[in-house]
């Protein structure tokens, strides 16, 4: 037979299906790599009952994060401030009293209703995360500035109004950090085998999420109610003027919160 036949016979050989197949497989694998689920519960754009301006409080007035999220350093949860706390300050700031948001706030207070915030960072039930350990480690032990530390997970909050979810809080992301800060911390995670056996070294030694300065001397001692001496409390409470005492019943009850 002649060359032409051969050629034509070869021309007849086309296998588009194979290319299609390869492409699909490729796409699926790529898809698996992207943690879609991590954003499934994102409510960053959902309307909050009050559009709370983080930027004012955290940036303009430089209020420490833990003034409001007061449980962060001693509980698993950071805690959304009770209405009483907002009022505690705002009833002393008549200037903004008539702003719509503040009005709304006070309406909640008057009818003793909790504010139905939407949860921005909602870890699945099977995740155990404790703010306490992280705060204790980075703020009190390493003495880093609070906003920097909170920012590791929550982003640059002082630029937000309402809370936003800035990181896909996935397992790999947690691990990357834990690898980095493991030394000396009491955390089990990142300890040698077996967990390690299944970790991908590349991801584990991911490049730092933020620059780690050498620990500066802590700004002040980690103060915990458990360790606070009875006598100290006594002194403190006695020294306070009667008016403040009254006020204190509803106001933040740690000296630390006002003396940061």
């Amino acid at each position: 037979m002649s060359m032409s036949n051969v050629a034509s016979s070869w021309k007849r050989v086309k296998a588009p299906w194979s290319f299609k197949l390869t492409r699909t497989i490729f796409l699926i694998t790529m898809g698996l790599l992207i943690p879609v689920g991590a954003w499934a519960d994102d409510v960053s754009d959902a309307p909050q009952p009050i559009e709370f301006p983080h930027n004012r409080h955290a940036s303009k007035f430089k209020i420490n994060c833990m003034y409001c999220h007061t449980y962060a350093r001693r509980s698993k949860v950071a805690g959304i401030p009770p209405v009483a706390k907002c009022i505690g300050c705002h009833e002393h700031i008549p200037s903004v009293r008539n702003k719509p948001r503040i009005k709304k706030l006070f309406s909640y207070w008057e009818q003793k209703k909790p504010i139905p915030w939407l949860k921005v960072h909602d870890m699945p039930d099977f995740v155990y995360f404790t703010h306490k350990r992280h705060i204790q480690r980075f703020i009190f032990k390493d003495g880093r500035p609070t906003q920097q530390v909170c920012g590791m997970c929550h982003g640059d909050v002082k630029t937000f109004t309402v809370g936003k979810k800035v990181r896909a809080m996935t397992m790999g992301w947690c691990l990357s950090c834990h690898k980095q800060f493991e030394e000396g911390s009491g955390s089990d995670i990142g300890k040698p085998a077996p967990a390690e056996r299944w970790m991908i070294p590349v991801a584990a030694t991911d490049k730092p999420l933020m620059k780690v300065d050498h620990p500066q001397p802590a700004v002040l001692n980690p103060e915990r109610p458990e360790t606070m001496k009875l006598s100290q409390i006594k002194k403190l409470s006695e020294r306070l003027p009667a008016k403040v005492k009254e006020h204190l019943v509803h106001a933040p009850h740690d000296c630390w919160q006002c003396h940061i």
Partner: protein
């Protein structure tokens, strides 16, 4: 509401207190008021949660950090102290209160399951009135009006009050209500399991219904059917005593009964005896001992005569225990002195129950146990607070009263006679007959649903109160009961029993007007007791009044100890004779004895609506969620039945259809049906499940006390051509029959002898 009020004004000190306590590292224990709003909508389905911070929380409430409140368990009359674990206003777990001498930080299954009574989906949440023959839900106002119309005015002894075992200020309150309503003495207490006969005998012979039993000192315990590890008065406490008793040098436990109980399962020797012949056995042992003992304590001749006259061959015939064993037991009793001999349900639940218990104490006396292992009680300082445990006698008194038309209003609370009482007592008829029936109830139980008005009350985890244990581990113990969280169903749902009753009292007696809430009443009552209390808490924080310090202190302990005078030694009043035991004759129509066996778990049936306890297997049969009849292999062979077959158990009063469980730990002439099931009401978990053996009990009563002889019923067993599975957690008939008889060769449970044990323990 008042509780909030009473808490807010000392909330600041609470916070200081909290810190103080926290510093001490002890559990943070405080009044559960005010701070226990439910924060997060607990929704395990929805991923997207709301977070609703409290508006104005107590300072010591911290999200994600648990707190513990001390209170008292009311699942059975034992009155164990509990610590309730609270997170964000929800009670999550109950633990024992380490400070409580009853349970020292331990808790039994029933105590654990208290949570499910508290959160039970079938709780009554709306008051109900009987309109046109049937109960309809009504508003609280309407209900309260009806209640006040009925109970709010004086009636000369026209009100009858039927209550479960009751103590502490609840009892005081009820009694003072009855007094105010001019019906003094109309409080009838009915409870199935507290050993009324035993109490009567103790009362008459030892001068106190419940002397102290010192297990630790006893070297041998011989128990005639007293299931002290399971259902005998104070399970947790006796279990702890038992544990000490078992330390080296290890005491020996001998259990004598016709159906193996949990205690029997842990005995060194379990002896099957024919029901009703326990007295005979006790007396036989007595006579052997009298003959063998060198030095007898002084004892009246007739009694000696009675013991001497016991015909051993007769005894062997009646009891079914051969004389070799009897002599062995007698010798053991003599050798292991001091010993302790107890009598319990199966021994006292017969027509000669009183005599049996008497014979048992005579043994104790002869062996010189009284004063050594049976210790005296101090005089009660507050008799009005001591526990009242009734029995069948009081129930029948009550029914007689109703029948005679003495009462125009009947109040029931914390008891369920319509379910408990045998058919022959016709309880439903009785309650139909009552002109007006008020029921304070937490669940839709058989009795409450017959009422004309049903008042849904708080669970014991939402209620204030005080409580005295049925069996006091220490004299003069008074436990406190406080709300550990706000009412699950809110104030619109259930109401505090104390609150309601106090309200009624106020209308009858103006001196109760002083207290604007039940908690205030309790609080002041406790405050008034302060001088009678062993080291009452003193102020330790700035700006804390004496009263607050005291209140805070006792609440965080969960109990107080009342100063008591030292107990005088026991004076034994021996009866000059014991009636000779009745001859147990064969019964052609009803050849078998039926035992309604109680168990730690469903108790007398009041816990049948708690899923955890339904799914907790019976400690011996391992069956869950069901009723069954236990039959000895030999008998089963005779009847040609096997595990799972359906049989008809018939007594003179009626019959039950129930599945067979072939069970080795039972006398061949006995069949046993567990108590607790067979509810016709009582919520989704209990309703229409299994059978209730009490229903077919025959009208036999203890001669002296008139208590129902619950173990005296004779039945016949006939096979029905049908079978079904018997469900065990171990699962499958394989387990029930073959491979648990032996451990299939695996050394799952190994055993050593007590001798080896004592030696090795002493070496260590």
């Amino acid at each position: 509401m008042s509780q909030n009020k009473s808490s807010n004004d000392w909330s600041r000190r609470n916070f200081l207190k909290a810190m103080g306590l926290g510093g001490a590292g002890s559990a943070l224990v405080l009044s559960g008021c005010g701070d226990t709003d439910i924060i997060n909508a607990v929704d395990i389905e929805v991923r997207k949660e709301k977070v609703e911070p409290q508006v104005d929380p107590q300072d010591f409430v911290r999200p994600g950090i648990e707190m513990y409140y001390a209170s008292t368990c009311r699942q059975c009359p034992a009155g164990c102290g509990i610590h309730a674990r609270i997170r964000q206003g929800r009670v999550l777990k109950l633990e024992g209160n380490p400070a409580s001498p009853v349970n020292a930080g331990r808790l039994c299954p029933m105590g654990q399951a208290g949570l499910q009574g508290h959160y039970n989906p079938d709780r009554l949440t709306k008051p109900m009135l009987r309109k046109g023959g049937k109960l309809v839900e009504v508003s609280w106002d309407e209900a309260m009006d009806a209640l006040i119309k009925r109970m709010g005015k004086k009636k000369s002894s026209r009100i009858a009050w039927l209550n479960g075992a009751v103590s502490g200020h609840q009892r005081a309150l009820i009694e003072s209500y009855l007094a105010a309503a001019g019906s003094t003495g109309n409080l009838f207490v009915f409870d199935t399991l507290p050993p009324a006969v035993g109490h009567a005998v103790n009362e008459s012979m030892l001068g106190h219904a419940m002397p102290k039993f010192n297990f630790e000192r006893a070297r041998l315990i011989m128990s005639f059917g007293a299931d002290f590890l399971g259902t005998w008065m104070s399970p947790v406490h006796f279990a702890r005593e038992y544990a000490r008793f078992r330390d080296a040098p290890r005491g020996t436990l001998i259990q004598i009964e016709s159906k193996m109980t949990l205690t029997g399962a842990n005995a060194d020797r379990w002896i099957a005896v024919r029901p009703g012949s326990e007295q005979m056995l006790a007396m036989a042992l007595g006579s052997i001992i009298v003959n063998e003992l060198e030095t007898l304590p002084e004892i009246s001749n007739p009694l000696v005569q009675v013991l001497a006259d016991v015909d051993m061959t007769e005894a062997t015939r009646i009891t079914g225990v051969d004389s070799r064993t009897m002599h062995k037991l007698a010798r053991l009793l003599i050798r292991h002195s001091p010993s302790l001999i107890l009598s319990g349900a199966s021994a006292e639940g017969n027509e000669n129950g009183y005599q049996t218990a008497t014979a048992v104490h005579v043994l104790n006396y002869i062996l010189g146990n009284v004063g050594k292992t049976i210790e005296p009680r101090a005089k009660d300082v507050f008799p009005q607070l001591t526990p009242r445990m009734g029995g069948w006698k009081e129930l029948s008194n009550f029914t007689d009263g109703v029948k005679s038309g003495r009462f125009d209003t009947v109040v029931t609370y914390g008891t369920n006679p319509v379910y408990q009482a045998p058919d022959f007592m016709k309880m439903d008829a009785v309650f139909k007959k009552t002109p007006y029936h008020v029921a304070f109830a937490q669940f839709p139980d058989e009795t409450s649903l017959m009422a004309d008005i049903v008042i849904p009350v708080h669970s014991y985890l939402e209620e204030w109160g005080t409580d005295m244990p049925a069996y006091a581990a220490e004299d003069g113990q008074l436990s406190l009961q406080q709300p550990v969280m706000n009412p699950v169903f809110g104030d619109a749902g259930t109401r505090s029993f104390g609150e309601v009753l106090l309200g009624l009292l106020k209308r009858l007696d103006k001196k109760y007007k002083r207290w604007n809430s039940h908690s205030d009443y309790i609080r002041e009552a406790m405050w008034n007791m302060r001088d009678a209390i062993v080291n009452a808490p003193k102020p330790e924080l700035p700006g804390q009044t004496k009263e607050d310090a005291y209140w805070q202190g006792i609440l965080s302990q969960g109990l107080v100890r009342i100063k008591v005078a030292k107990a005088k030694s026991i004076k034994v009043h021996l009866p000059d004779t014991i009636k000779s035991p009745p001859v147990i004759k064969e019964d052609a129509t009803y050849p078998y004895h039926m035992i309604p066996s109680a168990r730690l778990g469903l108790w007398d049936g009041r816990h049948a609506n708690l899923p955890w306890l339904q799914e907790l297997p019976d400690q011996l049969a391992e069956v869950v969620w069901d009723s069954w009849v236990e039959i000895h292999p030999k008998t089963a062979e005779k009847l040609d039945v096997e595990t799972g077959d359906l049989v008809k158990v018939t007594s003179s009063q009626g019959s039950l259809e129930v599945k067979v469980l072939v069970f080795p730990g039972i006398h061949p002439e006995v069949v046993a049906i567990p108590m607790g099931q067979g509810h016709t009401e009582y919520g989704r978990y209990a309703k229409g499940r299994g059978v209730n053996p009490y229903k077919i009990l025959a009208p036999k009563f203890d001669k002296e006390t008139g208590e129902l002889a619950s173990h005296g019923t004779r039945v016949s067993v006939t096979k029905i051509a049908d079978r079904g599975p018997i469900v065990t957690l171990a699962h499958g008939d394989l387990v029930l029959e073959s491979n648990t008889s032996i451990q299939a060769g695996r050394e799952i449970v190994k055993t050593v002898t007590a001798k080896q044990f004592n030696r090795t323990e002493e070496e260590a």
